[in-house]
Symmetry: C2
Subunit: 366 residues, 2 copies
Amino acid sequence: MSHQPHERVDIALAERSYPILIGPHLLEDDALLSEHVHARNLLIVTNETIAPLYLRPLETALKQRRIASVVLPDGEQYKTLETLSLIFDALIHERMNRDAAVIALGGGVIGDMAGFAAACYQRGIDFIQVPTTLLAQVDSSVGGKTAVNHPSAKNMIGAFHQPRCVIADTDTLHTLPEREYRAGIAEIVKYGLIYDPAFFAWLEANVEPLLGRVDTAVIHAVRRSCEIKAEVVGVDEREHGLRAILNLGHTFGHAIETASGYGNWLHGEAVAAGMVMAVDLSERLGWLPSEDKARAIDLLRRFNLPVEPPRIGAERARELMGLDKKVLDGKLRLVLLRSLGKADVVGDYSGEAFAATMRTHFDTVA
Amino acid sequence: MSHQPHERVDIALAERSYPILIGPHLLEDDALLSEHVHARNLLIVTNETIAPLYLRPLETALKQRRIASVVLPDGEQYKTLETLSLIFDALIHERMNRDAAVIALGGGVIGDMAGFAAACYQRGIDFIQVPTTLLAQVDSSVGGKTAVNHPSAKNMIGAFHQPRCVIADTDTLHTLPEREYRAGIAEIVKYGLIYDPAFFAWLEANVEPLLGRVDTAVIHAVRRSCEIKAEVVGVDEREHGLRAILNLGHTFGHAIETASGYGNWLHGEAVAAGMVMAVDLSERLGWLPSEDKARAIDLLRRFNLPVEPPRIGAERARELMGLDKKVLDGKLRLVLLRSLGKADVVGDYSGEAFAATMRTHFDTVA
């Protein structure tokens, strides 16, 4: 198959710039792959769920190269240094050199691990993202953050390593379980909340086609999400400032994920509940009108996303948030909304308002 | 103790520039440390050999900061992902944030691991090198290469991560075992061979004071070595070209180290024998006059360094060299000498001359 029509978003990072290609059937598109995958030696990193579906078609489309693959167990609980070793073992076993590239075929966990392996192998080789989940297509495959988890904290060990390109084949979303698909939508809603009121309104008007995975709606949502992420990352690649707004809901969300054990709450689900808390705090601080808070909660609910965290207790949650990367010097900085479509990283909010949000959402009602 | 007289070499890498401070008693110099160590939260990474000697003095000089330390087992065989985990565990346990810094107190193994941990922890925090071996002071602590070993190949997993400063306390060299001290001299000889005929001649004239560890001689040798490394790294931080000349003797040396099992040959010893092979091949190719080859071998011998590798067999050695990071596309590029004081990375040398060098040095005489 060759040259499918597709959309393109460019991430502008000087010599590390790269394109995101979005459209159906792209991972079978040998002409497109030839144009964007330059290495002749490739290691495809994927998992047990994705391999039976997409490994063979991708290998076929990448003909005339030397291709090896490593199939990892599926799940966030395997996003560890131990699993990372399996990728290094494969690279060494296949005698891959500095001119080789790693291809991440899968969701966020695969992308994070394959990217981190590529960042470290021989101190850095190329890598290419072929995200197969909605979450990965709109978020984790873009922006160059890679990592594995530490047993006591997520994404603690990693690197900034930009891919050479991202190939987001929207056809792969048709095999995605409903719950995972919806979890990906949480990050799409996030882009509207932090950056683009018009996109937020478009989402409100397109809940049905998105839930129905209608191509045109999905492609627009993925493209606009990538554009927003591209703009933010282009300004602040290494998260010294603006980039942190992409973490709306994530500090609360990390506490939820950690307390529940990795994998019991999907990342996007935890982010959805976390965003509700961020929105709640933004309202308490007098920044966000209550009708906008209601719109945010309503949209998440229409996408069947959780709008309340589990009752893990405010104290326990606070403790878990203490290890978050966004803590500077013991001061918990949070992403909050100044208004719908405008986020800010804030450290000087009222402690009382924060405590109220924590109690309201995490404590068991007496 | 405050502000010892010291020499300073600057590594010019734009926003990643940093100073190397060289002199006696620097790690007890609280004024100097205050000036150069900015983080208030510090994790000192050291090993069982170094900790009893220098950990307390360094902690004392770093007063008024929050200091934790992790003491690793001593030896190249521990330069692994598993040991690296211990550093991450300590950083997490101490709740170190992005504003924390890692201090490497020890030799090359400690510097490589602590630096790599700092490169990865929360995707990169500051680190500071306090090298306590001659090898680390003249080579591994400068230039930003960090790594751990894979069971089947050295330094395969790592990152480029520049330190904020290097504090080379030449007093620590007085506790260094003779064999390790001499192994460090191999890298000093290397700088003369690849870059500076005058420095090579100075070394020929100063064998006795250097072996006697006379302060003035040691400080000059460390400073000039760092200057040369700084110039080379300043031109080519990521080893796309010139920087590779710093690997003179290392491709042969890696084969020696791997075949002998890590730790049986010291790195500097393997490099010494490897440099003799590079010099031998350079002479066979008609580039290096035989009298210069003789000078190189003679100088290494006067420093009591090995000038012959173990007889591991040319075939086995070739196989081991096949995994070296300097192999591009199956073509073995080597650092060779165009003349004494001028190195080049070469891929188009005669295969026959290469085979002759391999046979002469690695095969058992029939």
